[in-house]
């Protein structure tokens, strides 16, 4: 059980690292937002790995609810950032 948890939490950390590095390196809006979403997905994965309690036992429902909230907030923030970016582009064009 520990080995699965270890594997998936390492994947989560990897995802976080890849996303964070790309978020800081990119300067265009869409690649940056994509990278930030990847980074967030890594955090979600670590959370759910910690909630996982083996093949036989019931996982912890509280992190599941938190991550569900996180997914919805992430998509809202993405929509808002895209709208802000579009407005900025429109202002730059004027």
């Amino acid at each position: 059980m520990i080995s699965e948890q270890l594997l998936y939490s390492l994947a989560g950390i990897g995802l976080f690292g890849i996303g964070l590095r790309a978020t800081l390196l990119h300067h265009m809006l869409i690649p940056r937002l994509l990278a930030l979403n990847v980074c967030g997905a890594g955090v979600f994965l670590i959370f759910i790995t910690i909630a996982y309690a083996g093949a036989e036992s019931r996982p912890d429902a509280v992190p599941h609810a938190l991550v569900l909230t996180g997914i919805v907030v992430a998509v809202s923030a993405t929509a808002m950032s895209l709208a802000l970016g579009r407005r900025l582009e429109a202002l730059n064009d004027e």
Binding site: I18, L25, P31, R86
Partner: protein
């Protein structure tokens, strides 16, 4: 033997996930980055199912991959299609790499200790113990709509705030793509199916994976599909109805909360006898609000006639159309 197969499965999922993430973050083609990102979302949905989080698998497939993907795909038209190489100086790039590496090492250390820690009081035991009085038997729904209902109320407020920002900033985005008969024909079949599935997810959320967020996102997907297939058709409903649907979820939530405050002296403390019904009412209204919010977010701004709908109160009966 079975265990070995599981290990191979786990390892291939993880490697594929990391490869897709790396591809998303390093490709120079925006379209390709978005496509890889959607693929990564779908793979994550499989991983959630593997880690026994089916509620999240549903949410990730519909919201993480579906709605986010649609948002990005509609947004990339506004920007150049190639990602220019970073303008950061080599020193800054080195600093970013070092910072990321340090954070990754720190997180590995923290997670390693977290995994090896002896189990203290796990919240899951309390959730299972209190489930009978929550009104629903799906533990995730019980946490979302009963034990931590405050979080979900504020989450609806976050979604509303984000959409209000989108509506304030821009007019809606117009697509110049001519819709194909194939898409229109498929939409005739798909939209009723999506609506039924959404209703099913809403209802089943009380005792099995599902719930308001998955159902709302699926309904939003149906609206987006209609928008894609029939971009020029005028919608036969008032924009006042859209405004009403946008706030009905959080309004119901607050009204129920205050009602419980008057009844039990605690905000959002449900009576065990009533909890199931109240949660279903809140979830139904939240589904409508989330669907409207995500569909408006996809449009990227105010639908046509949005301001007129606000100004002429007398014109509300004339079915203000959105493009």
């Amino acid at each position: 033997m079975i265990e070995l197969l599981w290990s191979v499965f786990d390892l291939s999922l993880v490697l594929l996930l990391l490869a897709l993430a790396w591809g998303t973050c390093s490709t120079r083609d925006v379209m390709r980055a978005v496509t890889l990102f959607i693929a990564m979302g779908l793979l994550l949905a499989i991983i959630w199912a593997r880690l026994k989080a089916p509620d999240l698998a549903l949410a990730e497939a519909v919201i993480g991959a579906g709605i986010s993907g649609a948002l990005f795909l509609s947004a990339i038209k506004d920007y150049p299609s190639t990602i220019t190489v970073s303008h950061r100086t080599p020193v800054l790039q080195g600093l970013i790499n070092a910072f990321t590496l340090a954070l990754v090492i720190l997180m590995s250390w923290a997670v390693w200790h977290g995994l090896n820690m002896s189990d203290g009081i796990r919240l899951s035991d309390q959730v299972v113990a209190q489930a009978p009085v929550s009104g629903v038997s799906n533990p995730v729904t019980a946490v979302l709509l009963n034990f931590r209902a405050y979080d979900t109320l504020l989450e609806l407020a976050v979604v509303l705030t984000a959409v209000l920002t989108v509506l304030t900033l821009n007019d809606r985005r117009y697509s110049h793509v001519v819709s194909s008969p194939l898409l229109q024909g498929m939409t005739h079949w798909l939209v009723p199916l999506l609506v039924v599935t959404s209703g099913y997810l809403l209802w089943v959320g009380a005792h099995a994976p599902g719930g308001a967020f998955q159902a709302g996102a699926m309904l939003a997907a149906a609206m987006i599909l209609l928008q894609l297939a029939f971009p020029s058709r005028r919608q036969q409903f008032s924009l006042y109805l859209v405004r009403f649907l946008l706030v009905i979820g959080i309004f119901t939530f607050v009204v129920v909360g205050i009602w419980m405050l008057l009844l039990n002296d605690v905000f959002l403390a449900f009576d065990p006898d009533w909890a199931g019904t109240l949660i279903l009412i809140i979830e139904t209204m939240a589904t409508l609000s989330i669907a409207t919010a995500l569909a408006l977010a996809y449009l990227g701004g105010r639908p046509m006639g949005w301001e007129e709908g606000a100004r002429n109160n007398s014109a509300s009966t004339e079915n203000e159309g959105a493009g």
